[in-house]
């Protein structure tokens, strides 16, 4: 393993980290306010598809914006069902995932090439030349955003209001916070970030949409959230670890000697996720009202 190999491994892991970090950090905001969205997987898939469709009509930035919009719309549906209509959050998430699986597969067939859709190279987000090789500018966003949100959640009035809505909605309601509205905003913000992560996958990283593009990333970022205990900085670290093992799996698969079958290597990120989560848990604590709809007495 030469220095070059290490550098390329690092580069791939940073790229693989971006969607996980963005999604996980967005979900942290949502979970702080008390909404547990397991539909992230579906949001990633839908926004990757939406972004890829929009990119040829206005460039990569428009594609990313459309991806964010897709994430916002889907999570708005999720949030309305689970705030004003007091729905079951798990079931809504499962519904979003099923819908996304069906819709993207359906849409891909309608585009003519069953199974995958290439984003033309001209409409992909340009990668920057750095000493480490070509890097997507989105890596910078994914590295900075967790710090901003860390500050926002701990040091601002709005962040503390979010926390109150997740910890003890009754008290927050008495204090004059509109629980439903604040949860809705938090969930939509999380959806926007997940949408950005999804559009990044198709426009700025892989350049292709397949019907299983998200490949469990939504759930891996949920695992990041669990691992982090709602701390955006730890979530970034978790996203990097999982990104690294995804990159490692891809790297082992391309080795000419094929020491391990590809099917076994592909399990690696999921196994590591499980191991890390089962090792990290126990010390983390979650908002008291996480996952329960708020009903006024």
């Amino acid at each position: 393993m030469s220095l070059n190999d290490i550098l390329s491994l690092l580069r791939i892991s940073l790229h693989a980290m971006v969607p996980l970090a963005l999604t996980a950090v967005g979900e942290i905001v949502g979970e702080t306010a008390g909404l547990f969205n397991i539909g992230l997987e579906g949001i990633l898939l839908l926004s990757a598809f939406g972004g890829a469709l929009a990119a040829p009509h206005g460039g990569p930035v428009v594609g990313l914006l459309v991806g964010m919009g897709t994430g916002a719309v889907v999570s708005l549906v999720f949030a309305v069902i689970n705030t004003y209509w007091k729905g079951t959050q798990m079931v809504t998430g499962i519904g979003i995932n099923l819908f996304a699986m069906g819709f993207v597969a359906f849409g891909l067939i309608q585009l003519g090439a069953p199974g995958f859709h290439d984003v033309p190279k001209a409409f992909e987000l340009t990668k920057l030349r750095t000493p480490m090789g070509l890097m997507s500018p989105m890596i910078g966003i994914a590295l900075v955003l967790p710090f901003v949100l860390y500050w926002f959640l701990r040091r601002t009035r709005a962040g503390l209001m979010l926390k109150a809505a997740g910890e003890m909605p009754e008290a927050a309601d008495v204090a004059g916070i509109n629980i439903h509205r604040i949860r809705l905003v938090a969930a939509v913000f999380g959806g926007v970030l997940a949408g950005l992560g999804g559009a990044y996958m198709s426009i700025a990283w892989l350049g292709v949409v397949t019907k299983d593009l998200s490949a469990g990333r939504g759930f891996i970022s949920l695992a990041c959230v669990v691992f982090s205990g709602l701390n955006p900085l730890l979530a970034l670290l978790g996203a990097f670890i999982f990104g690294f093992f995804q990159a490692l799996a891809e790297w082992v698969k391309t080795l000419p000697s094929k020491p391990i079958p590809g099917e076994i290597v592909s399990m690696l990120p999921y196994l590591i996720t499980l191991l890390v989560v089962s090792g990290a848990i126990g010390r983390v604590r979650f908002p008291k009202a996480l996952g329960t709809p708020y009903k006024r007495e």
Binding site: G87, F99, A105, I109, Q110, L222, V226, I264, M267
Partner: protein
């Protein structure tokens, strides 16, 4: 006299209202199905298809004759079992999303009977036992992770789905592979296959396995003490613990039962679906793919009740079977994937509690107004008296 009349009338009204309330779960499922089909219709319209013709094709393909009906029931067979996986655990208060992976493991395990020579009957039972054991073992790990390390079962079961998928692919391609046809696993020997029930269709005796399991689960959950404990632990964990129910035991039991159901679902495909009686490793396990996820939709529409699940599974089996016909019906080729869009929309709708009461907001507003008026009249009367 007038008061007697009015009380008789109100008893009638109350009876009707109670019946309607009792039927709420059913009407909510129906409403969700309608909403799902409408969402599908809108999407088809946007993409330039004729939704009406597509649904006509779908219904004809699902329930249009004895052949279509048989293939609908054949599609429903594994869905009943994977739906039970989800709903048994939900009744115990947990979200077991792992039916998909547990089903892969069950399917692979039942292929192992190809290495044995056993008399007919015993061979099938051995295959089912293998599948049940593999499914249960695969679902016990998340259960133990939850018990010992507090890992949320949604995350662990999803990770296990992906691990199971790659493991099953690996086993299908390298281990239990048919040496003469490397694209598939060994075929189940004839003595271990479920015979075909209706000639010329792919409906086999496996359907009895899934119906029997559903009825057994109904009996277990609603007519035994242990089933009562499982449901009590799901309804209110702290009250159940206070009442002396060991929640760890009910949790493990529900996960084992769920795993058994999912494993049997895999076996029902491998041992009971003509013509291959094998798993295709190439193309990513096409016969098994997504049965676990579809099962969750079935469980929701079946209101997590075994009998409801049987009905809902026929509906979704019909969607799947009819979807195949819809693809080729009347120059209006709507892809099969539309069926899963409809399923997702149905589950989304089902996640809204008391759907029936939510939609006619106006009615509730009206009732509020009515109540205020009545109260006002009562106080008026009291004041005059």
């Amino acid at each position: 006299m007038s008061s007697v009349e009015s009380s008789a009338q109100s008893r009638w009204l109350r009876g009707i209202r109670r019946t309607v309330t009792g039927l709420h779960p059913v009407s909510e499922s129906l409403l969700a199905a309608v909403v799902g089909l409408l969402v599908g219709a809108v999407l088809m319209y946007i993409y330039g298809f004729d939704p009406w013709r597509a649904y006509v094709g779908l219904i004809k393909g699902a329930f249009g004759g004895s052949y279509e009906l048989a293939s609908t029931i054949s599609r429903a067979t594994p869905l009943v079992l994977t739906a039970l996986t989800f709903s048994i655990c939900l009744r115990a208060g947990m979200f077991n999303i792992g039916a998909e992976g547990q089903m892969y493991m069950g399917g692979i395990a039942s292929v192992l009977v190809a290495y044995f020579v056993l008399p007919r009957g015993l061979h099938q039972i051995v295959g089912l036992l293998f599948a049940a054991f593999a499914g249960a073992a695969w679902s016990l790990v998340p259960a133990f992770l939850k018990l010992t390390r507090g890992v949320h079962e949604v995350i662990s079961t999803i990770m296990f789905n992906w691990i199971a998928r790659w493991l099953a692919l690996y086993l299908a391609i390298f281990v239990v592979v048919d040496p003469r046809r490397p694209e598939k696993t060994l075929s189940i020997p004839i003595s271990a296959r479920f015979p075909v029930l209706v000639r010329g269709t792919d409906l086999s005796y496996a359907v009895f396995v899934s119906v029997a399991f559903a009825l057994a689960m109904y009996f277990l959950l609603w007519h035994t003490a242990i089933g009562y404990e499982v449901r009590a632990a799901g309804l209110n964990p702290s009250a159940a613990r206070y009442g002396g129910i060991r929640s760890k035991r009910t949790m493990l039991l529900s996960f084992v039962l769920g795993g058994v159901a999912a494993g049997l679902a895999g076996a029902s495909i491998v041992m009971g679906l003509p013509p291959t009686y094998a798993i295709y490793g190439g193309g990513g396990l096409p016969q098994l793919m997504n049965l676990g996820f579809d099962g969750m939709a079935v469980a929701m529409v079946g209101r997590n009740h075994p009998i409801g699940i049987l009905v809902a599974a026929v509906f979704f089996g019909g969607l799947n079977a009819g979807g195949r016909v819809m693809q080729f019906y009347g120059a209006n080729p709507v892809p099969l994937e539309m069926v899963r869009v409809v399923m997702g929309a149905i589950v989304l709708t089902m996640s809204v509690p008391e759907l029936i009461r939510l939609f006619p907001m106006i009615r509730r507003r009206g009732e509020d107004l009515f109540g205020i008026l009545r109260r006002a009249r009562r106080t008026e009367r009291r004041e005059s008296a």
